[in-house]
């Protein structure tokens, strides 16, 4: 809460002082008298106390789980819960930056008697992802307008415009995990893989005694440890990725996050060990781990602006493409890990990364939200460049999910892995 004083009545006071000065100079008593109203108003401005912070705000959003492009009606009601009159209440609702406002401002002003309520309504257009309405910003003014109190009030509300996914973006013929063998359902511990020549450092318990009895040769059993398949979701959050199709549209990174959420949800109830990599100014990394604990960490990290900033960080030149984070990513991913690379494909770095990972033996799928537009020659060229990169990746044997955010992600994944 902060109290701010204004100098609104200083002009009136200055006029009064001037009138007196001129009156004294010209010896005109009437000017002295005509200065009196100025001083009365100036005294009034000091007599108005600061108003108390007694507003309560409620917000209703309908529907709370809209489809992409659907109109969402937001109703905000404001009540004076105190026992003093509030002559000047001004509010701005905390609309998510990614949702454009239609039909009505998300701002309101009213004078509220004790217990009185006012309401205002506006409409936003839903976009893919989970969006959070922040608290309202309220400024309460006193009667004379000389003091205002600013505060944040009201609830935070979420709407989820989800594009649920049931299919992971890998072809159905691909093995469930690297190595070509499937995990045995319900099996645990070590399973036989092969025999090799005995070495002095091998444990007695690993010696195949049956073979020794038959042939007189010492050999060691090598077991294949069952491992959960490892999957890393890699999000492109380099400065050049912060692009959108229009001024009021969510950016590519926002859509990447929405897709990552759905892919993460699709791995629930599977043995997949999920990790997360964010290629920003530096690489932010969560090592793949099995179970719900790691999924929870990944899920929380996707929502943290410090881990994955959805808005471009200040002071970053947005055309920089010489980041090292993708290079570090290539070195960080362990052998055999499956990689889903979420990137808008607006430059060449993701291509190189995908190819190198593929060459190193990682199954790779690129999920690319389309944030290009066709409004000008420049944007059309950018769209063509992106289409070329997609073609080149596919020719290199890498599956690409070309996702137009207005379409369901599940459908885009199925189309992408078929090609």
């Amino acid at each position: 809460m902060s109290v701010r004083r204004t100098a609104r009545w200083n002009l009136v006071l200055a006029v009064g002082v001037t009138a007196i000065a001129v009156g004294v100079l010209l010896e005109e008593p009437v000017l002295l008298l005509l200065a009196v109203p100025s001083f009365v108003f100036a005294a009034y401005s000091h007599a108005s106390p600061v108003v108390p912070q007694t507003v309560a705000v409620e917000r209703e959003v309908a529907p709370s789980d809209p489809d992409h492009g659907e109109h969402v009606t937001v109703s905000v009601s404001v009540q004076n819960v105190g026992d003093r009159y509030l002559p000047d209440v001004r509010l701005v609702d905390g609309v998510p930056a990614a949702l454009p406002v239609r039909d009505g401002p998300a701002r309101h002003a009213a004078a509220l008697a004790p217990g009185a309520k006012t309401q205002f309504t506006y409409t936003v257009i839903a976009k893919r992802g989970i969006h959070r309405f922040d608290q309202c910003t309220a400024v309460l003014g006193n009667t004379s307008g000389t003091a205002t109190v600013g505060m944040e009030v009201g609830p935070e509300t979420r709407i989820a415009c989800r594009s649920r996914v049931r299919t992971l973006p890998f072809p159905p013929a691909a093995p469930a995990f690297p190595g070509g063998s499937s995990p045995e359902a319900g099996a645990s511990g070590i399973t036989f893989d092969r025999l090799r020549e005995y070495r002095r450092s091998d444990s007695f318990q690993r010696i195949d005694w049956n073979r020794y009895a038959r042939h007189g040769e010492l050999s060691t059993v090598v077991s294949h440890e069952q491992r959960s398949p490892r999957l890393v979701l890699c999000l492109d959050a380099r400065p050049c990725a912060y692009r959108s199709a229009g001024p009021n549209e969510p950016g590519a990174v926002s859509y990447e996050r929405a897709a990552a959420r759905e892919l993460l949800a699709a791995t629930r109830n599977t043995p997949v060990a999920v990790g997360l990599g964010v290629c920003a100014a530096e690489l932010r990394w969560i090592e793949p781990g099995p179970g719900d604990r790691t999924r929870s960490v990944v899920s929380t990290s996707l929502e943290r602006p410090s881990f994955l900033p959805v808005e471009p960080p200040e002071g970053i030149h947005r055309t920089r493409t010489d980041d090292q984070s993708m290079h570090v990513l290539r070195q960080r991913i362990q052998r055999g890990t499956w990689v889903v690379l979420l990137t808008p494909l607006l430059d060449e770095d993701p291509l190189e990364t995908a190819r190198e990972l593929r060459t190193a033996g990682h199954p790779v799928t690129v999920v690319s939200p389309d944030v290009t537009a066709a409004e000008s020659t420049g944007t059309r060229v950018a769209a063509l460049d992106r289409a070329n990169r997609i073609d080149r990746l596919r020719r290199a044997g890498i599956h690409v999910v070309d996702w137009v955010p207005g379409d369901p992600l599940e459908e885009a994944i199925r189309n992408g892995i078929r090609r």
Partner: protein, 240 residues
């Protein structure tokens, strides 16, 4: 946090408050006018500005051509009243006061109906200050009755508040929002204006000290002390 996030899409002053401020300003000029000739000229100017407001309303209701023509006609009438009023004034000082009383409301109308945000406020206050100057000058050169002068100054102070509130609402909430804040604020300040005018008339019955140096010095000293106590210095004070 003591400010609302910037800025609404349309930041022109809220029209209801702007109309009230303009009407009050015109009322102040008419109250401070001296003689039927001055009053007639100012009435003509007020009519012109009323036509300007009608033109602005039409333009904001998407009738742009008719609205623009009406607005230009209104400004033409107001300008004609300025020229006629100053030309028909019997003396040069009266001509100057008429100019001030005529131009002030035009500046206020320009600020409240056509300018936005940061530009509106100084132009509006300059217009009201011009009206103040004209009224005070009229009180000296044209010997306007004290009660008219008191009402005129009180109305000018009221116009300052209503105009500032209208501009502030346009900046923070937007010109399209319909609010009760302007009307409640105007009503409260109008009550103070009544008190101010009555106080002036009551004090007029108190015998003023003569033009002695001691008396005038006492008045000046009292004024300086009162000013020091009443002036607002506007730092941001952080509360808990």
């Amino acid at each position: 946090m003591s400010d609302l996030p910037p800025v609404p899409t349309a930041t022109t002053p809220a029209l209801p408050g702007a109309s009230i401020a303009l009407a009050v300003t015109l009322g102040a000029t008419l109250a401070g006018a001296a003689g039927p000739l001055q009053t007639a000229g100012l009435l003509l100017g007020a009519t012109g500005l009323g036509v300007v407001v009608a033109g602005v309303v039409l333009r904001r209701r998407e009738r742009r051509v008719v609205g623009s023509v009406t607005t230009l006609l209104g400004f033409a009438i107001a300008t004609a009243s300025v020229v006629a009023g100053s030309a028909t004034a019997p003396t040069v000082p009266r001509s100057i006061t008429v100019l001030a009383l005529s131009i002030g409301p035009i500046l206020v109308a320009l600020a409240l109906l056509f300018l936005t945000g940061r530009r509106a406020r100084p132009v509006a206050l300059a217009g009201i200050a011009t009206v103040f100057a004209g009224m005070l000058a009229n009180a000296v050169v044209a010997d306007v009755a004290l009660w008219r002068g008191a009402i005129a100054v009180s109305l000018a102070c009221l116009a300052t508040d209503v105009a500032s509130r209208s501009i502030g609402l346009g900046e923070t909430v937007g010109a399209g929002a319909t609010t009760s804040v302007e009307f409640v604020g105007a009503a409260t300040t109008a009550a103070v204006a009544v008190v101010a005018a009555v106080t002036t008339l009551v004090l007029a019955r108190v015998a003023l000290p003569g033009t002695s140096l001691v008396g005038l010095s006492s008045i000046l000293l009292a004024v300086l002390v009162a000013t020091a106590l009443l002036v607002h210095v506007s730092p941001v004070q952080r509360g808990s």
